[in-house]
Chain length 283, copies 2
């Protein structure tokens, strides 16, 4: 019997776009995620997996319907998994002022230690352990070949998860990631709220700090829009760039002139990212 139930399925570029739901032990809620099975997987192959972690306010739906990634995944034979960005449902606390950058839709890919967040806000363990086990058990995925990417808060998630467990991922990339949450308003609010005031405990959740503290990956691809309104105060790719340079991590940081923070930006470059992942997953 499957743990995950199929909410919807639709043929797409010869493959199948599914939305699934399951009871999560980590978050103590029902969680949804989207999975695109390329034609090769429908034909019986176990294929490489690319994870996409979304940004603030998003669910499993945004990337799935807006990025146009299925076309390229179908060509390359990649299974795409797009999780939700926080626990949801009755009993899950939200930001007291319903702010968009904390609480629902803003799990920040951390395991919260503070009340009232600690019970449900366990997105780190959910993304790192529970959901990968479910994907490996119930979808035609090859767990030995995984890549991870994300956008904004999800770019932060992708980078930090890969840096903490480089053996699991052969490829990592990000669109407009929050490069150092410890040093920007979004991150300080989220990490302070979920983890408390001791900033030493924030470092495993900060890509730049992780690299400064010795974490390594083989290489990183980052696209950053030059007209992104969050560039200077929240994203700060120059911090990641400096840390990678010092650590000797090859970072391909592409500043895309005129592009903003939207999915129109992601759609424009997602093909490059998927080819980056495929080259490393199939090597």
């Amino acid at each position: 019997m499957s743990v995950a139930e199929v909410v919807s399925r639709a043929r797409c570029f010869g493959g199948e776009q599914r939305v699934l739901r399951h009871a999560s032990a980590e978050t103590g809620t029902e969680m949804r995620f989207a999975a695109y099975l390329p034609p090769q997987a429908l034909a019986g192959a176990h294929v490489p997996v690319v994870w996409f972690l979304a940004g603030l306010t998003c669910t499993e739906e945004n990337f799935t319907v807006k990025a146009g990634a299925q076309r390229v995944a179908a060509e390359l034979g990649l299974l795409l998994v797009a999780p939700d960005t926080s626990p949801r449902g009755e009993g899950v606390p939200d930001d007291p002022e319903k702010a968009y950058d904390f609480g629902l839709g803003a799990g920040f890919y951390v395991d919260a230690t503070q009340q009232p967040w600690a019970r449900h806000y366990r997105m780190r363990s959910y993304i790192e352990r529970e959901l990968p086990a479910l994907v490996a058990a119930e979808l035609p995925a090859d767990p030995a070949r995984q890549g991870i990417m994300g956008h904004s808060m999800g770019g932060h998630g992708a980078l930090t998860i890969a840096l903490r467990d480089p053996g699991r991922f052969r490829a990592v990339s990000a669109f407009a990631p929050i490069c150092s949450p410890m040093r920007c308003p979004w991150g300080e609010k989220a990490l302070g709220g979920y983890l408390g005031p001791d900033r030493a405990g924030w470092r495993p959740y900060d890509a730049t700090a992780l690299i400064e503290d010795g974490a390594r990956v083989a290489d990183i691809l980052v696209d950053q829009g030059g007209a992104d309104g969050f560039l200077e105060n929240q994203l700060m790719p120059e911090l990641l760039e400096a840390a990678c340079a010092k650590a000797g991590i090859p970072l391909t940081l592409r500043r895309q002139e005129g592009y903003d923070h939207s999915y129109f930006f992601i759609a424009s470059f997602v093909e490059d990212h998927l080819r980056w992942h495929a080259a490393r997953l199939k090597a």
Copy 2:
């Protein structure tokens, strides 16, 4: 001074995705539409235009964010225009029971003659005359090279508008169009409601009836999902197929096995449609 005001703009595949709004004399409301300007247009060229008419419940947004058409339009140098599907705003009457298939989001591309619809529900004249004049005046469009496509209710719109004015359009295609509104529940409700009980007055709003009555276009491309839940009772491509065969109109009707009625279906085949249009617009 421009008549249309830019609501948003985002760089996308080297071009620019805009949403615009303007006061419509036809509908007596503010109307929104989306326009994608390919890189060639940003560089100063006046480029061919492809219209996309959306289906029930949609706005200018659905095709714009879900179809992935900008990538191909950028390559081919096509300006994409996606209008809204009905008037909206204070004073615009809606279906008394707020049904999804009549009133707001369901203008059916007709000029209503019945009360209380006749004042605002003038989507035929809006799409055929007012918006094309505005696009020609304010965007880098070449009005001599226009194509039109649509989905479901918008497929009906594209086919009927092209059949009534074949001189204006060099190409027409549709995704899962309502092929004969006079003979399906969606169409009978809409045409009866907007136009009254005299079915003779419905024929200009029925692609199959228009062809039976002598209307002609050079050729038509239609994609229809084989797993579309509306296929048998609402869409009925076999009626269009029979009319085209009798009239000698070359119809390329592709039954796409396993595909449903969603934008995952549209995204999978929009490249074929845009290439179909480009081949005829650039001939």
